[in-house]
Symmetry: C2
Subunit: 179 residues, 2 copies
Amino acid sequence: MRADILDAARKLFGTKGYTVTSTADLAEALGVTKGALYYHFKSKEAILSALVAEPAAEIAELAAHAGERTPRELLGALIDLQAHHPAAYMALQSGDASVLQEHSQRHDFAGRTELIILAIAGPDPSPIQLIRARMAVVAVKEGAMAALVEGGGKLTDQMRLDLLQAAAATLDAGGRASD
Amino acid sequence: MRADILDAARKLFGTKGYTVTSTADLAEALGVTKGALYYHFKSKEAILSALVAEPAAEIAELAAHAGERTPRELLGALIDLQAHHPAAYMALQSGDASVLQEHSQRHDFAGRTELIILAIAGPDPSPIQLIRARMAVVAVKEGAMAALVEGGGKLTDQMRLDLLQAAAATLDAGGRASD
DNA sequence: GTCTATAGCGGGATAGAC
DNA sequence: GTCTATCCCGCTATAGAC
């Protein structure tokens, strides 16, 4: 039942957004009443928190060892993250900024991502290199999401390679990026 | 005063998100009371609508003539759009999905953007070409935003070129994109 | 043109029956 | 474990004084 609630939340938070989804919506989607939800979760926010916990842990992992990996490996890891937790990511992306802020602070999403971006940009990056790294990161996210939609939830190896190629091209566009 | 309200709304909607920003927040930021706002605007949503109107018109313009322009020109136009209306764009991006849906339907943001993406992808695009176009579009958006932050609101010609270069690289990464 | 006061409503959360 | 009923708060919007 906990799992059912999380499934429904994944879907609703991902499509409508967290704030706009009411506990009543959730209950209705499950065919139960609001009260029933509160037996399994302490609050509405606890549901979101549970949803976000796993991907958050993986991002922390990735950020911790970001320095040891190549930009390409990092971009690939981001693709895989997105592929494994598409809905949770959707929820984070389409959720309001306020939710992003709360959970970014709790799980330090922004900080982790920044570390990864820095690692992708390379040592002592110029402003343009940093920006290119940011562009590459959002590009893989967007690309992975689009590819998942396209492939009905599946991401082929070929597609993964193509995404990687496209995003990596951003990094050393116009020549000298000292990666 | 209308302008002051829009300024405050630009800032608050852009940072906190539309739904989460209350009319009380808005009034407090302006040093007036909620009631005062309703003299100038019919509703909270009317404020957002006014904010979004200009960029929406420009996007419609761009989408209407998308076929006549090269991918590079389109990406450049998107950069300029973002540079001219950074806050409105922020509001749209960080706003909840529900707001995006409502105003996307009203101004057909999604549809316009899709047209532009199609034009960037070129005629009869493969799935990967389409995805690359999507990646390039989010990349210029992210890049333009980052560059604006970096430059304190100013976007130099050099920076604009760099962004364009980086995003364009995504399009024909790994060789054959028939643009 | 800006204020106070308040109506009206939706949503999160709790209590207690079953 | 799920239900009904209810409390309470915050928010949008309105009415009317100044």
